[in-house]
């Protein structure tokens, strides 16, 4: 039964319904006009063939009430810009600009510029909203410019120039940063760069002074043309290509250098491989993936692996190493994973709703939730059970060296109970059956293969 996509409603000309293995985009007469303009071009065929634009086939009979229905493949995992790393948002921004340039050369334009129109498949960005394309009419400005700056350019500047991660901002405000906010955030040494003056400070000033006056028609009459858009697109691309984020080596990024990681890696890999052979999962979610070692193992065994971590630096590195590998990445803090939000609280689905795994890896995770984030062990187990699939879990006892570091200045009476192995086994009992287990050489860590009990 097709269900409407709760995130597809802003464009009245086009909206999406979801089926089990495909996505149907329904178009009205205006949307159909855009599709006709797009689908006949070499630009469209080339972009689809190169994997930069999602495959799109018009169905023979649109449902009543629609002028046309376009069928797309359903993507294996949907992620949102606030779960992307710097390099992902940068690659998505370049794709958006490349497609706009290609579209203009083919007599088309893209009427919006939001990263929600881009997804990552096999480590590469792909544009998914064919409803955004329209025939370009001479004299029209680039309607999506402001949105491009708010949702692509400013978040990238925030990371590259100001040193602040953009994800919390994009998660908190789905429209992105305003030019006024960005202008106030610019550090002194960047304030007088021509690109900062133009796209940030001048835009902020003009937005403020010109608000409420319609000028689209006046611009056309004054001689605005596609060349001006192309100049802007090329300047923006060169600016964005120049942006770099130097990962400081901090926190998690040094994790692989910890002795227990290299010591236990082989045993954990073999334990996972055995479970993979028994279960043959197609979708694995690796919670606390760090450098993605186990995600890659899962992907090599043929699954789509979603590597999840709160450390943007390691995931940025993983993203760049994972093109074509079957590993997807998502930055989210597991003590506070992406919620269901947006219009009516459902426009953007929660991470857990989108993950839909048939195997969860929780290696090196639960002690961080229990000791660093103060989540009671009982709640951790209940949360893992919510995925309703087998879980490969590493239990870390209170006697472990890493726990001593995480506990820091907390006194034993300030910690939650149920931390000992025997207590933890009791917590697992109502939710999971232990199908395999293995104590690691340290004696303080135990691997469990957990099968959910029928609910």
């Amino acid at each position: 039964m097709p269900t409407p996509d709760p995130g597809s409603f802003r464009d009245p000309a086009s909206h999406v319904v979801l089926e089990a293995d495909k996505v149907i985009r329904l178009l009205d007469e205006r949307g159909l006009e855009g599709w006709r303009a797009l689908s006949g071009t070499d630009f469209f065929r080339t972009a689809v063939a190169e994997g930069r634009l999602i495959d799109a086939v018009e169905t023979a009979e649109p449902p009543p009430g629609s002028a046309a229905a376009i069928e797309h493949p359903r993507l294996p995992f949907i992620s949102y810009p606030y779960e992307w790393t710097f390099s992902m948002l940068k690659d998505a921004a370049i794709l958006q600009l490349d497609l706009l340039e290609g579209a203009l050369s083919a007599g088309l334009t893209i009427k919006d510029a939001t990263p929600y129109n881009i997804q990552f498949v096999d480590g590469r960005p792909i544009f998914i909203d064919i409803g955004s394309f329209e025939a370009y009419r001479e004299g029209e400005p680039w309607i999506g410019y402001r949105q491009f700056t708010r949702q692509f350019l400013f978040p990238l500047l925030l990371r590259a120039w100001v040193g602040i991660p953009f994800q919390p901002w994009l998660r908190g405000d789905l429209e992105g940063l305003t030019s006024r906010q960005m202008a106030r955030l610019l550090p002194l040494r960047k304030r007088f760069k021509p690109s900062a003056l133009l796209h940030v400070r001048l835009q902020a000033r003009m937005e403020e002074r010109m608000a409420g006056r319609a000028v689209r028609q006046e611009l056309g009459a004054a001689g605005f043309n596609a060349d001006l858009i192309l100049t802007n697109v090329r300047k923006l691309r060169s600016l964005i290509q120049s942006l770099e984020w130097e990962h400081g080596v901090d926190g998690w990024s040094t994790y692989v250098e910890c002795s227990h990681v290299t010591r236990d890696r082989t045993a954990k890999g073999e334990f996972l491989t055995e479970a993979m052979q028994r279960l043959s999962p197609t979708r694995v979610v690796d919670l606390g993936a760090n450098d993605g070692h186990f995600s890659h193992l899962a992907a090599e065994a043929g699954a789509l692996a979603v590597a999840v971590d709160s450390d943007e630096a390691v995931l940025d590195d993983l993203y760049r190493r994972s093109i074509g590998s079957g590993v997807a990445v998502a930055v989210t803090e597991l003590a506070n994973p992406s919620p269901s939000q947006g219009w009516a609280g459902v426009e953007r689905a929660s991470f857990v709703d989108r993950a839909r795994p048939d195997l969860v890896i929780a290696y090196g995770l639960i002690h961080h939730l229990i000791y660093a984030a103060s989540i009671p062990p009982r709640e951790v187990v209940r949360w893992l059970a919510e995925f309703r699939c087998p879980v490969i879990l590493e239990f870390v006892s209170p006697a472990d060296d890493m726990v001593a570091k995480l506990v820091g200045n907390k006194l034993p009476q300030e910690l939650h109970g149920d931390r000992e192995e025997s207590e933890f086994r009791d917590l697992l009992e109502p939710w999971f059956e232990i199908s395999a287990e293995q104590t690691l050489t340290s004696g303080t860590r135990v691997l469990f293969a957990l099968d959910p009990r029928p609910s």
Binding site: R10, D11, P12, A13, R30, G34, T109, K111, D112, E134, Y136, R137, E140, P141, W142, I143, G144, Y145, R146, Q147, T149, S179, L198, H199, L202, Q203, R205, M206, E207, E208, R209, M210, A211, G212, R213, A214, V215, R216, E218, L219, A221, A222, G223, F224, D227, L228, I229, T231, N232, K235
Partner: protein, 63 residues
């Protein structure tokens, strides 16, 4: 006209002409002057003149 469901933002629209260099600055200036340069008179049928609203502190007349 392109069917836009987004509000492109007036300042941002004019700015993208400015980004286009000298030719664009000319376009931006011409467009802004044609918007504002009629002595603050309202565009026929569009019912807005912000210069009246801001300079004289009065509300734009209803069309």
């Amino acid at each position: 006209m392109i069917f836009a469901y987004l509000d492109p933002g007036t300042g941002s629209l004019i700015l993208q002409a400015v980004v286009g260099g000298l030719a664009g600055i000319g376009v931006a200036w011409k467009a802004w002057r044609s918007k504002m340069g009629r002595g603050g008179k309202t565009d026929p049928g569009r019912g807005e003149s912000m210069s009246e609203a801001t300079e004289e502190g009065s509300l734009p007349a209803e069309p």
